[in-house]
Structures are given as structure tokens and as C-alpha cells.
Symmetry: C2
Subunit: 340 residues, 2 copies
């Protein structure tokens, strides 16, 4: 490596405690006692260790600390995709909550695939991470056994409980009831829905809430009007096309998240359908872009930054020794803009 003055520098491996031990002629354990002060060390040995530290330029570092303490000062955030703005905001909220306690956050993208989810859980055990915050797609409670056995706290951000784990979830029942009530008053009778993939262990809690609300307000939400896909813009584009090409299409469509709703909005525009007069649309989350599209997206606000910071607070409590399982339900809020 050549630095900017043209001098050649040697690339060096960091000096380890083992190097110090070798140079001082003592064991690594003795070096660690000198560094931590946890046990007395004979003066001659202590002096030898300190001389070796000075000579080699050893710096006590977090890795060596980890080996002594079993702690890495690092937390994993395991999510489908950091490029999804909901998760980017959630990540920021988590990081802001953990920042005062100096935890690093590693961001792990699973693409909502089970194999990736398992791999990152395994990694968390191997790397002695201090905690995991996860939005699982395909995991079941047994998948967390190794983390539980290793004493690694887990906080789940999802709509449904994962047995034994701390949970941050949306409490959307009230907001969804208001949204469906609003649609009923606007004369809608036939509701469609764009939801996530079939067969996930968590099921479709948002679909269930819409179904119950539709029942209360006299709207139909038949199985033929429920279309499945990933939680993406592309899924929203495809989903709206499928629903609006049905013989008897819906007059309003509820979407599992805003990205899906924004895709649906694009597809409606491409098909020459006016929103909300030809088809009403409602999202979920209120990501930043919801208020930037035209017409502005009506949605159910579930503030991602707060979700992330709530996850962070639960994790810190658990790291701090809280024993019982905790759940935070964040009440969501109907935001009426221009699409319903």
C-alpha cells in the first residue's frame, strides 16, 4: 500500500493478545487479567505484559473484549429488503434507539426467503450478537431455539405473535374499521384486496381485519377478490390488473402495504381508470412516498421509525435483564387523502 506521500507502508495484521502473550512470555489469560484487572498478576509478569503492549502497539479492542465478555456490542436487523422504504425507516428508528448504548446494527436482507432467514439466525449465534430484531416471513417459533439457548434476545416486528418472543405490532383494527366504514358511506359494496404470499406461518392478519370490517359495514370481500403477491410495487401493478380484469371487478381495493398500493395506482393509470371514481385504493404504513404520488394515497399510518425505536427499546430492556415476554401494539391511524 502506498500512502499519499508515496511512502510504502506495510499492511499489518492487528496485534493480538496472543502476540502480546508470546512477547511477554506469559499466557493469554495472564494478558487478559492485566488488561481487565479482574485478577491479581505478579508484578514481574505485569511489567512484562505492559512492556510488550507498548513495544507491539497493542490496542485493547472490542474483539478481544467480546471473547472475554461473550458480547459483541452488535445487533442484527433481519428484514426482507433495506431498499423497501418502510424497512429503511425502521432501521433508522432502531439505530437511533440503540445509539446511546453504542450498539452497531448489521442489516441483513432475506428477500423474504426462509433459507436466508435461517442463515442469518445461525450467524447471530456464531457471532455472539447481542440481539436480533426480525421481520420474519417463513420462520416458526422452533427456528429460534438456538438463539434462545444462547441467551440472545429476539424482538419480532410483525402483525402476529411468535410464541415466547418480544413483539412490536400494528394495532390496525380501529383504523381498518374506519376505512371500511368510509368506503361503505361512499357507496362501495364490493371490496378487493392485495395481500402477501400464500402459506406464510403468520397468515393474513390484515386480510382478516378487512374481512371482519367488511362484514360489519355490509361490503363483500369474496375470496375471488383476494390476490396474492410479494409486498412490492410490481405485485401491486400485477394485482390491480388481475382484479380489474375480473368479470365483476371490485370498486375499492385495500392493499397490504403502501408499495403495493402505489403499484396498483400506477396500473390504474396505465389502464385509464380514474382513482378513486373508477376504483378506490388504500394502502398501509404511510411511507414518505404515499403523500408524494398523485392522487395522494389514502393509507393507514404505521410509523416505521417508531416501530424501529420500539423494537430497540424492547431489545435494550431484554439485554438489561427483563425476564417476561413483552408486546408493544402501536395503534395505527386512518389517513384520508385522495384515493378513497
Amino acid at each position: 500500500m502506498t500512502d499519499r506521500n508515496g511512502e510504502v507502508r506495510m499492511e499489518q495484521q492487528p496485534v493480538t493478545m496472543a502476540d502480546v502473550a508470546r512477547a511477554a512470555g506469559v499466557s493469554v489469560t495472564t494478558v487478559s487479567y492485566v488488561l481487565s484487572g479482574k485478577r491479581p498478576v505478579a508484578p514481574a509478569k505485569r511489567d512484562a505484559v505492559q512492556a510488550a503492549i507498548t513495544k507491539l502497539g497493542f490496542r485493547l479492542n472490542t474483539v478481544a473484549q467480546s471473547l472475554r465478555t461473550g458480547r459483541s456490542s452488535t445487533v442484527a436487523l433481519i428484514i426482507p429488503d433495506i431498499a423497501n422504504p418502510f424497512y429503511a425507516q425502521l432501521a433508522r428508528g432502531l439505530q437511533d434507539a440503540l445509539r446511546p448504548d453504542k450498539y452497531h446494527v448489521v442489516v441483513c436482507n432475506t428477500n423474504a426467503e426462509r433459507a436466508e432467514e435461517l442463515l442469518y439466525l445461525d450467524d447471530a449465534v456464531k457471532r455472539w450478537l447481542d440481539g436480533v430484531v426480525i421481520t420474519p416471513s417463513w420462520l416458526v417459533p422452533d427456528d429460534f431455539d438456538a438463539l434462545q439457548a444462547a441467551g440472545i434476545p429476539v424482538v419480532v416486528s410483525a402483525d402476529t405473535e411468535m410464541d415466547g418472543l418480544d413483539l412490536v405490532r400494528a394495532d390496525s383494527q380501529g383504523a381498518i374499521d374506519q376505512a371500511v366504514g368510509h368506503l361503505a358511506r361512499e357507496g362501495h359494496r364490493r371490496l378487493g384486496m392485495l395481500v402477501g404470499p400464500a402459506g406464510t406461518p403468520a397468515g393474513d392478519p390484515r386480510l382478516e381485519l378487512y374481512r371482519a370490517a367488511a362484514g360489519r359495514h355490509g361490503l363483500d370481500l369474496p375470496a375471488s377478490l383476494v390476490v396474492r403477491g410479494k409486498h412490492t410495487r410490481e405485485a401491486g401493478v400485477a394485482g390491480l390488473r388481475r382484479l380489474m380484469n375480473r368479470k365483476n371487478p371490485p370498486t375499492a381495493i385495500a392493499c397490504v402495504n403502501d408499495l403495493t398500493a402505489i403499484g396498483a395506482l400506477e396500473a390504474a393509470e396505465q389502464m385509464g381508470l380514474a382513482v378513486p371514481s373508477d376504483v378506490a385504493l388504500i394502502g398501509h404504513d404511510d411511507i414518505e412516498v404515499a403523500s408524494l404520488v398523485r392522487p395522494r394515497l389514502s393509507t393507514i399510518r404505521y410509523p416505521a421509525h417508531e416501530v424501529g425505536s420500539a423494537c430497540g427499546r424492547l431489545l435494550l430492556e431484554r439485554i438489561g435483564g427483563r425476564a417476561g415476554q413483552a408486546e408493544v401494539a402501536l395503534r395505527t391511524q386512518l389517513v384520508l387523502r385522495e384515493t378513497i
Copy 2:
């Protein structure tokens, strides 16, 4: 901790090499030789270590490996804000490039503050990170001395070179010239610009490119029409208001990034100004939302995912032993939509 069967589990610290050494009555160094096979160990001692490993349930882990190898299999991404969609996409690109080599990526938000930037660089040294990818706001080359001395590779994602460090940058000269040429043909003569904060070490490379292009195409870009702010929507709102309230306002405004341009678009709407007929706007980057706002934002495409993966490739090359300084200039592209 109570698991889902109601059984009480003990929260345990992970078993360390020191625990194994104690139980086997040998030094930690001996344990590490048994594990790594790097040096021969007397059979009696080896058997004692292996018995202790079985008895204690010790698992060789990445932390212990780090102490032996001086490597953490972790890379830091140090950026102003992961909630900015450009950086979320860049993060995803970086992670995708590093994924096959199993590196974890810790995401560090600096809010474009020097103190935070320095803190995360220091952290990278203390934690023996394998590399750093950074978009610096206030750092100067000397700030990287400790990383260079520790042999930690650094890749900078920015418009201007940081002496001695690998660089991924936008090559926007051609696209900016085209944009200004387009504005000239549309009859614009007075160009304003919304740029970043004053006094950053990198200066204002995008402003310089617009200034040169304005000169070539016969447009004015006077200092009085350059407004500074953070690279945010809020700065765009405030910046457009200031420019359009000038006695002699510009007829077109170039923005340092899309977020600023989107804020400017909102402010124009609030002021009752039509875009582009009252004021033309152009962004930089082409984040997803650029094509979702109305009117659709014209911009200069600098694809964040590719930027991130280029950073990842440079980092892997450097970790793999490449000595010379490398630079990747990604040619940007004018995207004409509806705002110029």
C-alpha cells in the same frame, strides 16, 4: 427466561475459549492450537481440551476466529442517513456484492456530522472491521490515517477524490451538459441551483459542472441564485421558496439530488407555480420516487444500487490484496420526464 413450554431456562453467557482452557487445565493458546491445528499439541492435553469442549458445549465461533485471524467478517457502511432512499439502495447494492463472501454490513448513520463520522471510523479500528465504505461529509484524508495504519481498506463514495483511497463517483459532466443544453433550447437564460452545505472539504462538484455547462450554453448561474442546505426534502422546500421570492427569480433550478428537487416541487405547488412552465426543475440520482411524483421528475440517473455494488467490488479487491488506488466513475444519464 421462560420458553414456550413453560420451562425455565438459564440465560447463559456463551462458553469462551478461556472457559475451555480452565476446565482442561491448559492455556488459552493451547486451546487455540487444538482448534486451529496450527501447532502440534501433546496428546494428553489435546484430549483434555476435547473433553472440555464436549462437556461445556463450546462452539468455535466467529469472535474467537477474529481474535486468531484479526478479521471480523464485517464491513461498515458509513452514510448520512439510511432513511434517505439513495443510501438504502446503495446499502442493498453493497450487501448484494459482499453477500457471496459472507461479510456482514453494519450501517452507521452520521447525519452528515463530523463527530459521528470520526466516531464510526474509530469504531472500525477498534472492532477490527474488514473494510469501510463511506460517503464522507466533513472528513479530510488525514482522518483516515488510523484505518490505513491498521490496514483496513476504505472505499469512498463521493463526487471528489479522497487522496489515497479507492473511489466510486458519478461522472455527470456529459449528462449535465445535455440538461443545460435542453434548458437553453427551451429558452431558459437564468438558472438557479440548490446545493449542499457551505464549506465541506469536497466543495461543490455538481455546482461546478452546472456552472461550466451554463457558460457553454449561454445561461446565467449567478452566485445570488445558489442556495445551500442539507440534501433533504425540507431543504428543497426552503430553497425553492427563497429562490422564487428573489426580485429576479430563476426560470429553472437544478438540484443537487432528487430529495431536494422533490421538496422544491412541493414548494412550487404550494406557491401556485406551474412546473415546468413557471419554473423548471431537475434532480440528480433518479431514486424510485422521482418517477412517482407528478409532474414526473426529470433527473440525472446515478443508480444507487450499482454505486453500492461497485463499492463492494472495490472493497473485495482491496481485501484480496490489490495494492494500487482504484477509481470507478459511473457515467450518469439524463432522464427527461416532465419537469424540464
